[in-house]
């Protein structure tokens, strides 16, 4: 015979359908989203991994200052690699509807048939002059469709297809950038004939594949390190110069998206666990309240021979069933609606190739087994403690577990205040879970509101992040006739710049910019005289790597093994940039340059009297805003939705918990109604108390949320090149608190009605 108690489960759900629907929805949406995240991530990750073989992705590439001779290429290939030319030309891109002041750049390749092949997503590949395929995401971001015309410098070309370039799934213009930029950077491919026709600055880039595939990442790194040195030596011997070297594992344009999949999965796993724990506690409290109400029945059942185990199974069967159904429905939604949503989010950020939805066993287990285990564990711990009480105590409705014989002494407050305090102590567990629930929502809210605030703060303070409005890097400090390049621009000042990389700390191999400044510089406010091995470092460098004044740092050249050690004499207040500062004379000594050497100019205004051919790069505010633009585009809109979802979550969680508190106290509320208290007085006891708890929780958790998200942000930034700080701001902090309070206000209005509906007969029933 099946246990007849099982029939109660469905009836309990029917009776309290609103509560269980809310719990079911919260769990289903969470499981669905996380499942969708797992499915989408793994499907796309598989597509990204398969792409290495399918599209023959390079093992690395390097750029040379001049075109390599066939002898030099032979020399390279003696290093057990095969070289593939993948020259490209860079142009300004123009298209219909583009803002005039928007500087959009396009990198145009010949159609690559052997290596780094493109995945066609829409249209077709070009087969004649004046046709081009461009990156799908850049096209989406800028409203360019197949059939549109774009202008690459002086040439008109029809966009015949939208593609994902296998070596540009994330549109990083170069691997030293903090953030990719799919808004103002584009990659395209044309026929060989058309490529030869269009005139522009050509970059001599060579991709390579190892003849024998490295066994693992360590061997890959070892081989790549050796290769860098050998290629650099061969170049020097052949009168050429290596200007960039990016092994595949360090190529952000290839790796950023798959790496992001991995970190998002971990975040979602944590999100799932935390939320299921919160929901499990809500279930546990619900069951606990039921056990208190059914004490005499439980006593009778225990006296009749029902075991604790049977009762435990009976009481946890409802949360387990709801969790199981939520897991099934959530997973179905995970493979459909939520997967599509997550894929859309990723496609909004990355230029990914086509993928096939794959069955994800690991995701299914995690989104099914984790919630079930957590639910069983939390409910068992809470309920079993209660069920350990002797049957006789159940029969006597004496379920106190505290050994305290007298009530806790309270301060000599007014009666109602003391009454409230008693209610608080009596419902401490419920209010505790409410605090944790609000903390959970607040962390998500702080994230949702803080992300745009951080980006906006960066935008607003961009001047602080820059040494000067214009930062020119010259190809050489002398012109073709050997004269030192100069300018009449009054605000211009010479400086030097170089790049080294870290050898230790939180992020090995991260690029550090070394600046050399002139005496009495207007752009570097460092007055201290520094010896050759003494430097200042930027605040961002100090914060990220935890380096203080007096510490020593060791940096190395990017393409060879030369190392440099410096002693930090001070921290220079330049956020956002990981940099080292030294007088220009010291710079020239350290890097063995001429005494008068410099790299370029810093200027407040645009320099108009230097020939463009002499200029290698100009860094302006617009370049610095790239990161903010991309973050805003990738996440800005989602964050608005996310904050609304957080508010709904807050509303539902608070609704559930206040409902539990009122249900638990229904007898007492009924009794004080019998005694003659009016609804206003009862509300002042129960609603005001909960309001005080919610306001305190909202305030306290907002600060805790900022601390928590700030730490998560640091961990995130440790993985990236660069550093800028998480910023929430008072206004957003207040907004987060207000959103929680508004959610509660809606619930409180419902609670007023709920309290009003409690009949006086409840008290009489309990007396019986």
């Amino acid at each position: 015979m099946k246990n007849p108690l099982r029939k109660r489960v469905i009836r309990e759900i029917k009776k309290q359908w609103m509560k269980y629907i809310v719990l079911f929805l919260l769990m289903t949406v969470t499981i669905g989203f996380v499942s969708g995240m797992f499915v989408a991530n793994d499907s796309m990750e598989k597509a990204a991994n398969d792409a290495f073989e399918k599209y023959n992705i390079e093992d690395g590439h390097f750029n040379l200052k001049n075109e390599a001779t066939s002898e030099l290429i032979n020399e390279f290939e003696k290093q057990d690699i095969t070289i593939y030319k993948q020259y490209y030309k860079e142009f300004k891109e123009d298209y219909k509807g583009k803002d005039d002041d928007k500087n959009v750049r396009i990198r145009v390749f010949k159609m690559r048939e052997e290596i780094n092949k493109a995945c066609l997503l829409e249209g077709r590949f070009p087969d004649k002059d004046d046709e081009i395929v461009i990156d799908r995401m850049h096209a989406d971001n800028n409203g360019i469709s197949v059939g549109d015309m774009i202008r690459i410098d002086g040439y008109e070309a029809e966009v015949v297809g939208l593609v994902s370039f296998s070596d540009y799934t994330c549109l990083f213009e170069n691997s030293t950038e903090i953030m990719f930029d799919a808004l103002t950077f584009d990659v395209g491919a044309v026929t060989e004939e058309f490529y030869d026709k269009i005139e522009g600055k050509q970059i001599y880039q060579y991709a390579y594949l190892f003849d024998d595939e490295p066994k693992d990442e360590d061997e890959n790194k070892e081989l790549s390190d050796k290769l860098i040195e050998n290629v650099a030596v061969s170049c020097i011997q052949n009168g050429n110069e290596i200007t960039d070297f990016v092994p595949e594992y360090a190529n952000k344009a290839i790796h950023f998206a798959p790496d992001d999949f991995g970190s998002d999965k971990i975040m979602c796993e944590v999100l799932l666990i935390v939320l299921v724990v919160v929901l499990a506690f809500i279930f546990a409290i619900t069951i606990n309240n039921t056990i208190v109400n059914e004490a005499a029945v439980i006593g009778t059942l225990r006296a009749s021979g029902y075991t604790r185990g049977e009762l435990l199974i009976h009481y946890i069967s409802l949360p387990v069933i709801i969790t199981l159904v939520a897991a099934v429905v959530g997973n179905v939604m995970g493979y459909t609606t939520f997967k599509d949503l997550v894929v859309k989010m990723y496609y909004n950020s990355y230029s990914l190739p086509k993928y096939t939805t794959l069955w994800n066993a690991d995701g299914f287990v995690k989104t099914t087994v984790y919630p079930l285990l957590i639910m069983i564990l939390v409910c068992t711990i809470v309920i079993y403690k209660k069920l350990r009480i002797a049957p006789l105590k159940f029969l006597r409705r004496d379920l106190r577990t505290s050994k305290r014989k007298k009530a806790m002494r309270l301060p000599r407050w007014k009666f109602l205040s003391r009454f409230r305090l008693r209610i608080l102590f009596q419902n401490l567990a419920d209010y505790g879970v409410m605090f944790i629930g609000i903390l959970f929502v607040q962390i998500m809210l702080v994230f949702a509101l803080g992300m745009p605030a951080t980006v906006n703060n960066y935008k607003d303070d961009i001047k602080e992040y820059m040494l000067a409005d214009y930062q020119y890097i010259l190809k050489s400090n002398v012109d073709s006739e050997g004269n030192i390049i100069n300018t009449d621009e009054e605000s211009a000042e010479k400086y030097s710049v170089a790049s080294l990389e870290t050898t230790d700390g939180v992020h090995v191999g991260e690029g550090i910019t070394i600046y050399g400044y002139m005496d009495e510089s207007r752009y570097f406010e460092i007055d201290e005289d520094l010896d050759e091995d003494n430097v200042y470092i930027s605040k961002a460098y100090s914060d990220k790597f935890g380096i203080d004044k007096g510490d020593s740092i060791t940096l190395k050249e990017q393409y060879d093994s030369r190392k440099y050690s410096f002693k930090v004499k001070g921290i220079y207040d330049l956020p956002g940039t990981l940099a080292v500062f030294m007088p220009n004379d010291n710079f020239n000594k350290v890097f063995e340059k001429d005494k008068e050497a410099f790299t370029g100019f810093l200027s407040e205004n645009e320099i108009k009297d230097i020939d463009n051919k002499q200029i290698m790069t100009v860094v302006t505010q617009d370049d610095m805003l790239k990161i903010a633009r991309q973050l805003d585009h990738s996440m800005g809109a989602y964050m608005k939705y996310f904050s609304v979802i957080c508010m709904i979550f807050a509303l539902l969680l608070i609704y559930l918990l206040t409902k539990l508190i009122i249900e638990k106290n229904a007898g007492s509320i009924s009794m004080i109604k019998v005694l003659g208290y009016n609804n206003k007085e009862i509300n002042s006891l129960y609603i005001r108390l909960t309001s005080i708890v919610v306001v305190i929780a909202a305030l306290a958790t907002s600060f805790l949320g900022v601390l928590f998200v700030g730490e998560i942000w640091k961990i995130y930034m440790y993985q990236l090149d660069g550093w800028f700080e998480y910023y929430m701001g008072t206004q957003r902090l207040i907004q987060a608190v207000v959103m929680i309070i508004i959610s509660y206000a809606i619930v409180a209005a419902m609670d007023v009605v709920r309290i009003k509906k409690i009949p006086m007969t409840d008290a009489l029933k309990n007396v019986e």
Partner: protein, 248 residues
Amino acid sequence: MSKDFSYDDLKDEEKKEFLKVSQVNKAYGTGDSRQEVLRGMDFSVAKGEFCVLLGPSGSGKSTLLNIIGGIDSADDGYISIGGDKLRDMDEKALTNYRRKHLGYVFQLYNLIPNLNVKENIEVGAYLSDNSLDTDELLHTLGLYEHRYKLPNQLSGGQQQRTSIGRAIVKNPDILLCDEPTGALDYNTSKEILKLIEEVNEKYGNTIIMVTHNEAIQQMADHVIKLRDGKVRKNIYNENKVKAQDLDW
């Protein structure tokens, strides 16, 4: 200790002392608040006997019933059922003992509110390997017409009949009744007493009923009068009165 007790093949001598209460003491509290509830309680009940424990409030009758039921324990002395001493049983064995051999009826019914009459009785049937036929029992209880009603749709008497049904459906060796008529009016009380009498006659269960109603003693085979935790009188009724003839 965990065993599957069976009391079907007891010898006559064992049947006479089926339930044995031997020098049982029980006190609650410590120091000044210590209260001795049972003091050297000593008696036995034969198998199939209808025994009434009679006494005023505080005489220890409910405590004794709870100790017999294995949901409370004696400080000294022992209680044995068919020769098995409860004090030698661990918690698992005690649960098994209650499960297989005891039925409990309380003054306040303690029915499960969201199960109907039939299902509440099935809650008891689930515990037994040889439970009575539920539908037949519903007829015996006079509840067949009401079998799909929830407890809050029943009168007090009907609720108590349901709780008796839940207790006896598993055909227990001992039926423990704690003031089963305490919350009922005169007519309903008599109905319930008639039912218990019928159950005793029909199924042969040993019945231990706690009451403070003096009139009920007339229908019992064996009356044990308690006061201040001691047995004051141990009476065997030779002229039992039928429940329907009781008056108070």
